[in-house]
Amino acid sequence: MNEFIEAQVAFGWEDLRSSYDVVIVGGGGHGLSTAYHLATRHGMTNVAVLERGYIGSGNSGRNTTIIRANYGIPEAVRFYQRSVDLYSRLEEETGRWIMHDRKGLLWLVHGTPGTRHERARSIVNQAFGADTVYVTPEEVGRICPEVDLNAGGGEYRVTGGTYSPHAATARHDRVVWALAEGAMKLGVHVHQRTAVTGLLKPGDRVTGVLTDRGPVSAGVVVSAVGGHVSTLAAMAGVRLPIRTHPLQAFVTNHYAGSFRPIVASAEMGFYVSQTPRGEMLLGAGIDSQPSYSYRSSYEFLSHCSLPAVTLLPFLRNLTILRQWAGVCDMSVDLSPIMGYTGVDGFLVTTGWGTWGFKGIPAGGEQMAELIATDRTPELIAPFSLNRFKEDRLMFDPGSTGTTH
């Protein structure tokens, strides 16, 4: 029995009330982090998190758990560095072991355009508070001896890269459980197996949600929904610049060696890290078709494996154990969308695409501040939905580990 379930026995499950100050739709990392920060930072505990499956059953349980702040634009570097800092304190704060492991991230390049891009990234990172340095091929070899610096017989020769020592991984389930437990201890309700089927919107304002367990009225409804966010937003009459795409990943069997850093190559289109169990965890870009299907494909395995074994020849000796897919809310500028929607009583934290896990602590902290104070915090002001109307997109090619 895991620690979270054990703790539940002590809490007991609460009945669904007919009214809350705040109803958060979606019991993933972002929804639970928002509830956790409302309770711990602002003393707001008349809060419910509604989750149609079990907590962490969506993208929070399907991602590749990478925490990093090496983004390409100042606003994003600041935001994700805040998240990196909060993650590193989360174990101490919640008293739960989330298996946070600061292993560093190598982002490799194979030629002049990539080199230029990574040099720019390191400069932007250093200027706005994230620890990222440009490294030569020799330094790459020292940090990660498994990398074939002359990959593919020179076709993918490693010409350098950036190294972000701040990058880490954590156990996704434990992050979700730690936040849920921390919120519930203070009186927040987390209702699993409670599907939101509609929104109460008698006039211009959203006043609650309809669930399969009855209506619940709310002072404010927050959507922390993953891939299915457009469907929920449409119920409030809100249009989003979001398209849902599947993202796949797989793990191999146990690798007996210790593979220390996270390694990514945008040009080769994959990234890899080792899980605490010793499996090698690989991911690549999203599937090109808009889709809500959780179907995995053989084609993904083959497209991802070929560059991976080219750059890291030791992977040839491993076997693929499991593969899975999640459905990602991809925003058009590859940056998250947080805050007001133009409809009173309805907020969103969305557009988390393939980069949601790393944003969990800061996203929740900032959304909680917005809800408690009814003012958009400075850190997330650039990520408002209004940016599309105001023509100030936050396009960030550094947001994804692979090119989309």
Binding site: A234, R239, L240, T244, Q289, P290, Y292, S293, E299, V332
Partner: protein, 73 residues
């Protein structure tokens, strides 16, 4: 298996050969010209279910096709 789409010229072909083309569909209740422009430029219905789409068969006949597809399967 990865998604396959039916092309009237080339038969059933894997999604790798195709490029998706988003068709703007601003809802009728948006009436202001600016509002409609913003919607056409950025917003998407992101339909969950059956939907009419446009796909370009780049790796085949090189033509646009109208294809009906259910995004949940």
């Amino acid at each position: 298996m990865a998604l396959r789409l039916h092309c009237p010229h080339c038969g059933v072909r894997p999604v790798d050969e195709w490029v998706y083309g988003e068709v703007p569909d601003p809802p009728d209740h948006l009436t202001g010209a600016d509002e409609r422009d913003v919607d056409r430029g950025f917003m998407m219905s992101n339909t969950e279910g059956a939907k009419q789409e446009r796909w370009f068969h780049a790796g085949g006949c090189g033509r646009w096709q109208a294809i009906e597809r259910d995004t949940t399967i």
